[in-house]
C-alpha cells in the first residue's frame, strides 16, 4: 500500500515538474513575442510619422508581422488632428494647440503636427499560453500597449 502511494506521489511530482518547465518555456517565448511585437509597432510608427500616410501594403505588412507571434492580437489606429487657436494676449501673439480625435476609423493620411495613436492589444491567447493558464491558473497580463507619436 505504501509502495503504491509512493508511486502515485512520484508520478504526480514528475508531472508537476514537467509542467513548471513547460510554463517557464512558454513564458520566455511569450516575452520574446512581446518584444518583437513592440519592435514592429515602433518600426511601423517611425515609417508613418515620416511619410505622413499609411499605405495598404504597409498596413498589411504590419498586421502580418504582429500576428505572426502566436498570440491573437488586434490593433487600432487613431488620428488626433492638431487644431490651433490664435489669440492676442497683451499684444503678444499666442497660439494655443488642442487636439481633436478624427472620427474616421481607419485614417490613412496625416498632416504635419497630427498625433497618430497605435494601440495593439491581445484578444486571445496562443494555444500554449492557454494550456499554461488553465493548468496553473496564473499567467501574465494581456498584451495591451499604446504608442502615440507626432507626425513630422
Amino acid at each position: 500500500m505504501t509502495n503504491a502511494t509512493g508511486k502515485f506521489l512520484g508520478v504526480g511530482i514528475a508531472i508537476m515538474l514537467l509542467l513548471l518547465m513547460y510554463s517557464n518555456v512558454v513564458v520566455s517565448e511569450s516575452m520574446l513575442d512581446r518584444r518583437q511585437i513592440a519592435s514592429e509597432m515602433v518600426t511601423f510608427m517611425d515609417s508613418v510619422i515620416d511619410s505622413r500616410e499609411i499605405t495598404e501594403s504597409s498596413l498589411n505588412q504590419f498586421v502580418s508581422n504582429i500576428t505572426s507571434h502566436g498570440a491573437v492580437v488586434n490593433y487600432k489606429i487613431t488620428r488626433k488632428i492638431r487644431n490651433v487657436t490664435y489669440q492676442n494676449v497683451g499684444g503678444v501673439p499666442t497660439a494655443t494647440t488642442t487636439y481633436v480625435t478624427d472620427p474616421n476609423e481607419n485614417p490613412m493620411k496625416f498632416e504635419k503636427g497630427d498625433h497618430i495613436v497605435l494601440r495593439v492589444y491581445e484578444e486571445s491567447f496562443s494555444s500554449t499560453q492557454y494550456i499554461v493558464r488553465e493548468l496553473t491558473q496564473m499567467f501574465m497580463k494581456d498584451f495591451d500597449y499604446t504608442l502615440e507619436m507626432r507626425v513630422r
Binding site: 506521489l9 499666442t94 498625433h115 502615440e148 507619436m149
Partner: protein, 333 residues
Amino acid sequence: MARMLQLFYWLPVLFMSFFMVEIYLSLNAEIDSFNNEMLQRQVNASSDAAVLEAITNNSDIESDYSHNKIEIDPDVCKREFVTTLLGNLGYSVTEEAIEDFENTAIMSLQICMYDGVYTYYQDRYATRNISQGALHNRYKLVSTPKAPYFYTPEDEVDTAYALTLDLDKAYRLYTVPSEDVDGMYNLKINTVPVPVSHITRDRQLTVINNTVSEWMKYALIKSYGTGDINKSYNIPAHANSITGAQPVRDLNVIGIVDLSDYGSMSDYTVMGIGGNRIVKSDPVVTYIRDGVRYWNYTSKCGDLNLLSDVKAYDSEYTAVLTDKAAFDLKGRE
C-alpha cells in the same frame, strides 16, 4: 526504511517550491524590464513631440528663427510632453489628468533652447487640510528662469560668454556699475552676438551639455528631496547625468518620468531625450529687376534695399528684408 523513503519524497516538493519562486521572480523581472523598455519608447516619443510642437508653435505665431533666435514658451513644450505621454499610457487627456500627472510623475523636464535651458522640477509646498488641521506636503511642477550657457575661456581675461546652439555666435558678457550699490557691478549680456570661432565647437557643446546636466541634478535633488538637507535622497543612478553623450546639440527636450507613485507597483524611471535639427528659416522672396521677375531665397538676395529697381512684393517678408541690410552684395546671384 519506508518512513525514510516518504521523507525523501518531500525533497522534490521543496525543490519545486524553490523552482516556482525562481520562475515567478524571473518572470517579474522580465515584465518589469519590458515595461521599462516600452516606457522609454513612450517618453522618447513624447520628447520628440514636445520639440516639434515648440518649433511649429513658434512658426504659428510668425516668430520663426529669424535673427538666429528662437523664442519659445516652455509651457507649450511641457503641455505637449504631458498630453502625449498621457495618451501613450492610455489615460484620457483632461485638465485634471494633466495636472495630476505633472505634479506626480515628472521629476525633471528640461527645455533646451537656443540660448538657455528651462528646467522644470517638483517644488514642495505645505498646505493645511482644514478638516484635519494638519500640514500636508504637496508638490507642484515649476520652472526655473531660462539659464544661459555661461562660459569663461581660460585664456581670455575678464571675458565671459553666453553660448548658443548656433555654435558660431555667442553673446558677450560685460559689467556695468550698479545703480543700487556704489562700487558694485552688475553683469549684463550684450544683445548683439559676436563670432566665437576661437572656441571649438566641441568645447561649446561640452559647456552646454554640462550646464544642462547641472540643472538636471538640481531638479532631481529638488524633486526627490524632502527639503531636509540631513536626509539622503534616492535618485535613480541612470538618470542623474547626461555628460558624455552630449545629446544637446540642437533644440531638445529631456524628460525624466517616474511612475512609482502613479498607478504602478514597480519603480519605472526612465529618461527620454527628444531632439530635432534646427533649420534656419529662409523664405523665398520675389522681386523685379530689369523688368524680369525673380524668386530667390532671402539669404542669397543680399541687401535688396541697395538696389533701386528692386521691390519686394510680399508684405510679410518686408521685415525680413530690412533686417538683411548688413549683407554684402558681393557674390550674390
